[in-house]
């Protein structure tokens, strides 16, 4: 019986550990003062995907057509430097560690740090996170979905040309 209780406690602890994600961070910070927050829901992504005009890119813009339908959530938080920004940076760093994210890229310049992470497998990206600590603000971008890795990488590489 003791073993069963230990098992239940461990299960509950693991559930709590998994509880922090893009959404929970967004819910925690989005209503605070001096925080710019943007959320796009799965329903809105479905709506965007159904509008055919959206898939025709304007000159110089990014063609999101191939990937937009695979997105299920976008969370953006932008916080001016201060205690709240430092808290967000720490929370995101913890969430990255616990969520088994893989570092995609890191850039550092004059004390500014920008990191990109993904979680998924060789073929699908389930979550993409960009965390940037700039001189006067901290930015967090989290994209959730079932994005084909190749498409996502091509899209970023194409736009970076």
């Amino acid at each position: 019986m003791k073993k069963l209780y230990i098992l239940v406690v461990l299960l509950l602890m693991s559930l709590t550990a998994f509880a922090q994600n893009g959404r929970s961070l967004y819910n925690k910070y989005s209503d605070l003062d001096n925080v710019e927050a943007v959320y796009i829901s799965p329903a809105m992504f479905r709506l965007i995907g159904k509008i055919p005009d959206m898939e025709i890119p304007e000159e110089g813009s990014v063609n999101l057509g191939p990937i937009i339908k695979s997105l299920s959530g976008l969370y953006i938080l932008s916080i001016k430097e201060g205690n709240v920004a430092a808290d967000l940076y720490d929370d995101v760093s913890r969430f990255i560690q616990k969520g088994q994210y893989e570092l995609l890229m890191e850039a550092k310049d004059n004390g500014e740090v920008m990191r990109m992470y993904t979680v998924g497998d060789d073929f699908v990206v389930n979550s993409f996170v960009m965390l940037a600590r700039e001189a006067d603000e901290v930015n967090f971008i989290c994209l959730d979905g079932t994005m084909p890795r190749e498409q996502l990488e091509n899209l970023i590489a194409e736009a970076a040309k």
Binding site: L12, I40, S41, L64, E158, A159
Partner: protein, 124 residues
């Protein structure tokens, strides 16, 4: 005195005959010992019956605890920032442009480093 093995090999008729033989002395404490053994067996059986109920009950309790925890840790869905899908699309486009810009910046740094290394290798 017969061994246990010998007793188990006896037929029912032999056992009946021996039990009716009043010439064999019966130990005084035998009856109490038999009653005690029967009581112990009864108690063990009751314990097993109790466990049969306890195991599924604890399983159900664990499942309920897990469901309650999932319910408690489930985050409420935030409100959409945009009502207009065109504005939402523009925001997603902006995000990808920003990500791409950062990747381009990283790539330019790599190119700069490569050029510096090439120059160093040339002068060396």
């Amino acid at each position: 005195m017969k061994t246990l093995d010998e007793i188990t090999r006896l037929s029912a008729e032999d056992l009946e005959r021996i039990s009716l033989d009043t010439g064999i002395p019966v130990p005084e404490e035998l009856s109490a010992k038999v009653q005690e053994a029967v009581a112990r067996a009864d108690e063990a059986a009751t314990r097993v019956r109790r466990l049969r109920w306890a195991l599924p009950a604890s399983g159900i309790a664990a499942a309920v605890a897990v469901l309650v925890t999932i319910g408690l840790t489930r985050e409420p869905e935030p409100k959409d920032t945009f009502d207009d899908p065109y504005l939402a699309y523009a925001e997603v486009e902006k995000v990808f442009s920003r990500i791409s810009g950062t990747v381009a910046y990283g790539a330019s740094k790599i190119t700069e480093t490569e050029e510096t290394l090439d120059k160093y290798a040339y002068w060396k």
